[in-house]
Amino acid sequence: MEKNKTFNRKKILIFFTCMAVFMMVLTGRLVYLMIFCSEYYGQKAEDLHERERSIKAERGKIIDAAGKILADNRAVCTISVIHSQIKEPEKIIKVLSKELGLTENEVRKRVEKVSSIEKVKSNVDKEIGDTIRNYGLAGVKIDEDYKRYYPFDSLASKVLGFTGGDNQGIIGLEVIYEKYLKGIDGKILTLTDARGVEIEDAGERRQEPITGNDLHVSLDSNIQEYVQQAALRALQTKSANSVSIIVMNPQNGEIYSMVNVPEFNLNDPFTLNIEVPDNLTQKQLQDLRNQMWRNQCINDTYEPGSTFKIITSAAGLEEKVVKLDDTFNCPGYKIVEDRKIRCHKVTGHGPETFVEGIMNSCNPVFIEVGLRLGVDNFYKYFKQFGLLGKTNIDLPGEANTIMHNKKNVGIVELATISFGQSFQITPIQLATTASSLINGGNRITPHFGVNVTGKNKELVKKFSYDVTENIVSDETSETLRFLLEKVVSKGTGKNAFIEGYEIGGKTATSQTLPRSAKKYISSFIGFAPADHPQVLALVIINNPQGIYYGGTIAAPVAKEIFENILPYLGVDKK
């Protein structure tokens, strides 16, 4: 038997030493991994274990000038399924499709999808959520959050706008002030195993959602409600397509009311407000919805017609090409180049001063003024008045003014522009420009947003808007107010006259394109009190049936509105 020799022992020791060294090296490696890389790997592991569920933040309210809440929130539920926790898929599919009003196939797709968490439906009423919760189905998660709620349903629908499934603004003020209204979503962080199953008693970390800030707007629900009723009456009695009314403060641009009837229900914005045949495609339905959501005061342009004579007058007076006592003669038409342009009074107004010309809304007078101004001057004032751009109102999708390219404007075009035809502007542009001309010459920015307040009513942001001063002289502005007061007290706008108030205004009747369709837009723009205007209203009746003269059908609407809101706004009778 071989003995264990000394060299054997030595070699065993060498081997042991080698192994010991290896183990020390590995210990060093462990020190490196567990101390120096600990944070890195630990964080990665935590990211892996944590599942995140968001808690929707409450959206800020929209509050009107009278302190009433126009847009609020209501508790709703989001229903989701967690694939790995589902025990009875068929039962879940049945219950969810029944309670949520979805088809079984839609629900099945969600239930059978292999993902950690799958949303089935959001904005489910709280009662329905509670019902589903009571079934006690494993793998069905009911999270409560908030849905936008509009207490006044359809009031100012096209101004306020509504929100989508993720509580994001889709149209209107909800879009423009998204950044203030939208809060910061909270999170629930839970630990889960590799299958996504939450670990009990691991506790959860919550990051509380932060409620959005409240938006205060100049819109006054009392005025808006009243104006909406007046608009609806006009819509019905005149069987018009639509009626749009803007009521604003001509001094600072605050809009008190913006009505576009028919409005739609903000709490159900996807249901059309008109009867439609059943066989429409999804695309056709969506087109109709987009049409329904349009804010005609801002998104659409029209030929202003005679109300534009305010602008022609302002330009003429400012350029001093016309004085109040200048005399004109109207034979019922005016020949410009080879064209005979008619006055609305076929028999003619005969000899008249400029004051009488505007009271009569006489086209030949204004053609003459326009021709005296010339293209260059006219365009200079358009630009100076801010008419060629947008008003920058705080609503999305404002349409641009559609005006002739200056170098294409001949004498005939110049003549038609002078009395408000052959180009298009938005109602808000007309109301804003008229406001700016009569308020002493300060071009204001029309707006709704006044300020934003936080949770504790503290001021977060006060909005300020651009004002361009001296777009016309004080003197011209004053003259304009005097002229327009005459239009209401003695001229075409007399249907807007209210005993005890001095009201200025201008009527218009414009024919829409194509002229052969014999469709009209009747409008009236008025302001009060005439010497120091505090409120301006623009009434536009689109395609009225029967009598279509602005002075006959639009001016009474304005009168009705003024009669009610002037006392409300604290404008006393003289």
Partner: protein, 370 residues
């Protein structure tokens, strides 16, 4: 246990039994069972509906192993000389058999199933190689001075290395390592071993390049986060890294909850790191070092070369396997399936390891203080 009556010729000699070794082994086994339960209860619950599923199987194998250990420790190790050749041949047969009747698990045929009992021939092969080579070398110790003698021994080991290596590279490396260490200890030479090391490196390179998936392993090793196959490694690193100095506490591992696939097998050390921290991990390494040190003491004092070589074989087996496992788990070397002795789940492994401990204890029993 050392109280049995001594032979008359040895009456004045004190007998020795290495209790330290036995206690270290028992401690390791118990610690292993606790860690195995902590690690496997989640997957036991999920896959088998019983959190103690793996623990129960491991307990049975451990019980068997402890009986074997005690029995073998009481038998004079020279008795096993008679079985050296038989063991060698049956190991070749079993390793061949596994190709035909083996059951494929995770793409490798490593298990033979006999009814409810599964058996891993490669674990048996390690023991068989230790016994056979210790026997052969101790019989022809003088030839270990020549290169040809050494090559002969290596050639004896190669069939098993090749057969096992086909399915289980890491076990093959361990078997080859055992053979090299045995020759190294038995031979008085040094220079030759530098050559053998060179041959070993060439051998491993050939092995790696034979099959492309092994080269891919190298790429995965460098950047585990870029490869799908690096998932397990990366998850192991997450577990190790999130352990920190003192760990999350026993049972508190997150990574064992399905993030590390089959954490109770190869990757159990990463869960030890996560739950017990650097402190616990270093303790485990020290425990293994202590174990290997006891082997050295026994081998150095063994009565004869056969006994010394038996213990050196066991020592090589345990130390190489521990180092490879921890290297893999810490991504120090490319991933290869290798389990941590006494702690990882694996019935065959723990049974045969305990049998090897029995051998070492038996050798320690033969030590005589004069």
């Amino acid at each position: 246990m050392n109280l049995r009556p001594s032979g008359s010729s040895e009456a004045k000699q004190k007998k020795f039994f290495d209790y330290s070794l036995m206690f270290i082994v028992i401690f390791l086994v118990c610690f292993g069972l606790v860690m195995l339960y902590s690690t496997s209860s989640y997957s036991g619950q999920v896959k088998h509906g019983d959190p103690a599923h793996y623990l129960k199987k491991q307990l049975a194998a451990t019980g068997l192993g402890i009986v074997a250990m005690i029995a073998i420790s009481k038998i004079n190790y020279h008795f096993w000389k008679h079985f050296a050749l038989l063991g060698y041949i049956s190991s070749i047969v079993l390793s061949t058999l596994v190709f035909f009747i083996g059951r494929e698990v995770n793409g490798s045929k490593r298990w033979i199933y006999l009814g409810p009992i599964s058996f891993q021939p490669s674990e048996f092969a390690k023991l068989a190689v230790i016994l056979f080579l210790a026997y052969v070398i101790s019989k022809s110790a003088k030839s270990m001075t020549s290169i040809s003698g050494m090559i002969k021994v290596i050639l004896l080991a190669l069939p098993i290395v090749g057969l096992v290596g086909k399915n289980n590279l890491s076990s093959a490396i361990i078997i080859l390592g055992i053979a090299v260490v045995l020759i190294f200890v038995a031979s008085p030479k040094y220079k030759q071993f530098i050559m053998i090391a060179g041959v070993g490196i060439i051998f491993i390179t050939i092995f790696l390049s034979i099959e492309s998936y092994r080269l891919e392993r190298l790429k995965v090793w460098r950047n585990p986060e870029n490869y799908e196959k690096g998932y397990q490694t990366l998850q192991g690193l997450y577990a190790i890294g999130s352990g920190g100095l003192f760990g999350k506490g026993l049972g508190e591992s997150m990574q064992k909850l399905g993030f590390i696939p089959e954490a109770q097998n190869d990757m159990i050390f990463s869960i030890i790191c996560e739950e017990l921290g650097l402190f616990g991990a270093v303790c485990v390494i020290m425990l293994f070092l202590l174990l290997v040190w006891r082997f050295m003491v026994i081998a150095n004092n063994a009565k004869d070369l056969f006994g010394a070589l038996l213990v050196v074989g066991v020592m090589a087996h345990i130390s190489i396997q521990v180092i490879l496992n921890i290297s893999v788990v810490t991504n120090t070397i490319p991933n290869t399936g290798i389990i941590l002795p006494f702690i990882s789940y694996g019935g065959t492994s723990v049974s045969f390891l305990l049998a090897e401990m029995g051998l070492a204890l038996s050798v320690s029993n033969g030590i005589r203080f004069e």
